[in-house]
């Protein structure tokens, strides 16, 4: 089977279309970053409190809102996650997240949601405090089976597996444990525990200091990564190849971040990881084309650089589309099945792979040609830089 065979598309002839396409998306992203959504930073960088809560039934947002208001958390943002998951995210601003008492906001949220606490008993869905030790100790103290401690270890583990692995962290009612543990054990558990109608799935609390440091670190990582590639390509090809590739990759990064701004999705630490992967991936695509140009420059001495570049893109087109398609397939499966935690990460990759493939054809290669044409016009000589792997001196080829 073959999709592309001896294609001969004049890519460079379409450079003005490409340029306007890139400009539209870059400018839209930049405008959104400047005037609309800004750069929506996640809690990692911005600081603040993020609590994921799962309810037993469909959460009643206005009711949650009013409970939080009562607790004085007027600025809390409540967002429902996927329909049917009964989950919400509650976000607090940095203002409510002080380093003097970091988890205050989280505790306020939990207390506000806990509408019917039972005095003298503990909430078994409170995964912050109720773990294996608490359940086992409760069973050991009441000793309902008059059994060995090992038996209670096993039962405590069973109860927690029931809560965490089978019911996503919330037990609806203590009676749900009927049949899971023997009745005397259930009665003993009922003496110590009750169930609330929610459980905390995860909590992220980042104080202002760390947020700022992470922001700096992420910017440095992206910057270093681009710089390292520029140097490598300079060493392997020619400076202009490195510059063209880095400009293309920067273009991809800009448009990807722009997509996050336009859709108002938060950029988290894992999204930065995805962007760095894209830097590597998009560079891959560009290098494949550049390698072919390097090879063809040696073989085709009579053609102009524009023709050589066009030919090189066409020769690698099949590979470019196939690889991108396959990588896109895997990333798509991540986006569809990877779960809520990876949504931002896979979104960045989905956008980035499309843009990255496009840019190696539509940005990097035309830039190389444009630069060479500009230089030969300026100097009056028709010399193009020939990449010289391994060779010390630079060889120039007459066109």
């Amino acid at each position: 089977m073959e999709f592309f065979r001896n294609t001969n598309i004049d890519f460079l002839g379409k450079k003005w279309y490409f340029l306007s396409f890139s400009l539209v998306f870059s400018v839209a992203g930049i405008l959104s970053m400047m005037f609309w959504h800004g750069i929506p930073l996640g809690v990692d960088f911005r600081g603040g409190t993020l609590v994921y809560v799962k309810f037993v039934n469909a959460p009643n947002i206005p009711a949650i809102r009013s409970e939080l208001d009562k607790a004085g958390l007027h600025n809390a943002v409540i967002q429902s996650l996927e329909a049917g998951s009964n989950e919400v995210v509650i976000k607090l601003d940095l203002k409510e997240t002080s380093e003097a008492d970091l988890s205050k906001g989280k505790n306020q949220i939990i207390n506000a949601l806990e509408t019917n606490p039972v005095p003298g008993k503990q909430n078994i869905n409170n995964s912050d405090r109720i773990g294996f030790a608490a359940v086992r100790n409760a069973l050991l103290a009441s000793d309902p089976l008059h059994a060995e401690p090992a038996e209670y270890d096993r039962l405590a583990r069973r109860v927690l597996d029931f809560r965490d692995k089978e019911h996503s962290g919330v037990i609806k009612s203590m009676d749900d444990l009927k049949g899971v543990v023997p009745d005397p054990v259930l009665n003993a558990l009922k003496q110590s525990f009750y169930t609330s109608d929610f459980g905390v799935r995860s909590a992220d609390i980042v104080g202002p200091q760390v947020g700022g440091q992470l922001k700096k670190q992420a910017t440095l990582a992206v910057g270093f990564s681009l710089l390292a590639m520029l140097v490598y390509l300079w060493f392997r090809f020619e400076l202009i190849y490195g510059v063209a590739a880095v400009v293309a990759v920067f273009h991809d990064t800009l448009i990807t971040v722009g997509a996050f701004s336009l859709t108002n999705q938060e950029i988290t630490l894992t999204v930065i990881a995805a962007i760095l992967t894209l830097v590597g991936y998009s560079m891959n695509d560009t290098i494949v084309v550049f390698d072919r140009i390097r090879e063809n420059v040696k073989l085709m001495r009579r053609e102009s650089l524009a023709e050589i570049v066009n030919k090189s893109i066409n020769q690698t087109l099949s590979r470019t589309i196939l690889t991108s398609g396959l990588t896109f397939l895997t990333v798509l499966s991540l986006y569809l099945f990877g779960g809520e935690v990876l949504h931002g990460f896979s979104f960045a990759l989905v956008v980035g792979i499309i843009i990255g493939t496009y840019s190696s054809i539509a940005v990097a290669a035309p830039m190389l040609v444009a630069y060479t044409e500009w230089r030969s016009k300026k100097s009056g000589r028709g010399a193009i830089p020939l990449p010289t792997p391994g060779a010390k001196g630079k060889v120039r080829v007459k066109v």
Binding site: D128, A221, V331, S346
Partner: protein, 539 residues
């Protein structure tokens, strides 16, 4: 040629076996099943297992302040001995490395200078405003003290975490900021309690309680009892209320008789008459002597009876009267439960923190979210991989089998690497595995497309394969180097899950260089050696 091929196949099989062992480990033979064996080798990260990730700031200035307090007291003693008058000596609140000496007569300054030189060599002396003198801790001494404080804090946290039985904790300096500690506790299922235990300074001090331990309802009331001015060398401290009690304030001596570093050991116990949980503590020999002198001088029947304040983390727990001379041990009672008495004894045993701690970041992943993430990650990995494997089979037919074999071997080597290095698999790490599949197939595509091109140009199968691999090699090398560079930056600059993702990517790319180039080539050669001359290659 045949012999060469056999040797190469042997190498591949050997590597396959090595990495299968790396992936599954010794449990492979224990019969507990593949899954158990795999989980034994590949450690799950915090985000998959549940647990908590904390960054703490060590308030190193606490330790600096304590050092300056100590220097102030020593200086006061020395000046009294030398019969030199002074108005006040104390550290600056906002610059704890500085001690200000006020009101020393001009003719005594040279003696003062001599005392500083002999007894406080770690300070520099300079003139301040209004005839005062300022002692500044030498920069090197200050830096050392801060480093030591950080190290001791890390040690104390490690002892505490170990005593809680957390498996595979990570406790280390956090490179991101000054004097920060990173603590990762995978699998902890009651992070709230663990957090409290880590943060508790557990600085036990024994001080004199003035006014026979009277507890005043407010700070104001305590001041008024002394006509608005606190007695010399004393401070007001909050009392920790027991169940059903109002909070109160007690006036205590500014300088402790015994401080946290003087505690030798501690254990939980029960009071003999009421069976109430208590904590027993034992002092070092030197502190025991000081304590005996103090309790002897202030016991109930002495000329100057007073009370003893037991202070934990700057709050008074109890302030009982002293029944008689006590030398090297004592008890703390104060409304403990069995568990809190046990925790406190552990904290006292493991040593006080040299400085207080603030949490800067807390990320807690509940165990249920971790379990769901694994399910989702594995589902995505299988779906993505299957799609790629099937596509390669359809598009390249015979060569597709080749690519698929290489890809599967790539995965085995990747997981084996992680097993050998004890690397931690995080959720972004699983994404890294999936991406490795997508990007790993790129090398195969590059080579296959090149072979097809060569075949179209009329080359024979063997020559086309030869040229295809040869020509694609430089490209593959360049693409792998650049991606490894960005993965390395992720690994070194990133933290936690992101760093794990970088590592997965690096292992995956290295394995891919081997499988896509070497293994795939051997398979081609094997296929070609069976074919007759001129027979077409299935690609």
């Amino acid at each position: 040629m045949q012999k060469n091929l056999l040797l190469k196949t042997g190498i591949i099989v050997a590597i396959l076996l090595i990495f299968v062992y790396g992936m599954l480990g010794p449990k492979l033979f224990s019969g507990e099943g593949l899954k158990a064996a795999l989980l034994d080798r590949v450690h799950l990260g915090l985000d998959l297992k549940g647990g908590t990730h904390l960054i703490l700031q060590v308030m190193v200035n606490d330790a600096v302040g304590a050092q300056s307090d100590h220097a102030s007291e020593l200086l006061k003693d020395e000046l009294q001995k030398a019969k030199i008058a002074y108005a006040d000596i104390g550290k600056l609140d906002n610059q704890p490395e500085k001690v200000v000496i006020k009101g020393v007569p001009v003719d005594a300054v040279s003696t003062l200078r001599g005392i500083i030189r002999d007894r406080l060599p770690e300070y520099d002396m300079s003139a301040g405003t209004d005839n005062s003198w300022v002692l500044t801790m030498k920069p090197q001494v200050l830096a050392d003290l801060k480093d030591r404080t950080l190290e001791q804090s890390i040690e104390a946290i490690r002892t505490r975490v170990d005593s809680l039985g957390v498996s595979e904790p990570l406790i280390q300096k956090n490179g991101l900021g000054d004097n920060q500690i990173l603590v990762q506790l995978p699998g902890v299922d009651d992070p709230g309690r663990v957090k409290d235990i880590i943060q508790s300074t557990a600085r036990l001090e024994l001080r004199e309680a003035l006014d026979h331990g009277t507890s005043y309802p407010t700070e104001q009331a305590a001041l008024q009892a002394h006509g608005g001015i606190l007695p010399a060398n004393s401070v007001i401290m909050q009392r920790r209320p027991r169940k059903g009690e109002e909070e109160g304030f007690i006036i205590v001596s500014r300088i402790p008789v015994v401080s946290g570093t003087d505690i030798r050991s501690a254990d939980p116990g029960n009071k003999s008459d009421t069976n109430e949980p208590i904590v027993n503590f034992y002092l070092t020999a030197a502190a025991g002597k000081k304590f005996a002198a103090f309790t002897g001088a202030h016991s109930k029947d002495s000329a100057d009876p007073s009370n003893l304040a037991i202070v934990l983390d700057n709050r008074v727990i109890t302030a009982p009267s002293i029944n008689g001379q006590i030398s090297d041990s004592g008890i703390i009672e104060g409304g403990f439960t069995e568990e809190s008495a046990k925790d406190l004894a552990m904290l006292l045993r493991s040593g006080a923190l040299p400085a207080s701690l603030h949490y800067l970041t807390e990320r807690t992943v509940g165990p249920s979210l971790g379990a769901d993430s694994i399910k989702a990650g594995v589902k995505a990995a299988i779906a993505g991989m299957t799609a790629v494997l099937i596509f390669m089979l359809i598009y390249y037919r015979g060569a597709g089998v080749n690519a698929d074999l290489a890809l599967i071997l790539n995965l085995v080597i990747l997981l084996g690497f992680m097993g050998f290095f004890g690397a931690v698999l995080t959720l972004p790490g699983i994404a890294g595995v999936i991406l490795t599949v997508g990007m790993g197939v790129d090398s195969n595509v590059l080579i296959f497309e090149r072979i097809r091109e060569e075949l179209r140009n009329g080359k024979a199968a063997a020559a086309a394969v030869d040229q295809g691999f040869d020509r694609a090699w430089t490209t593959i090398l360049d693409t792998h180097v650049t991606t490894i560079v960005s993965a390395l930056i992720l690994f070194f600059v990133g933290t936690g899950p992101v760093s794990g993702f970088g590592l997965t990517l690096i292992f995956g790319l290295l394995a891919n260089l081997f499988t896509a180039v070497f293994v795939s080539r051997v398979i081609f050669d094997a296929v070609l050696s069976r074919k007759g001359r001129g027979e077409a290659l299935s690609i």
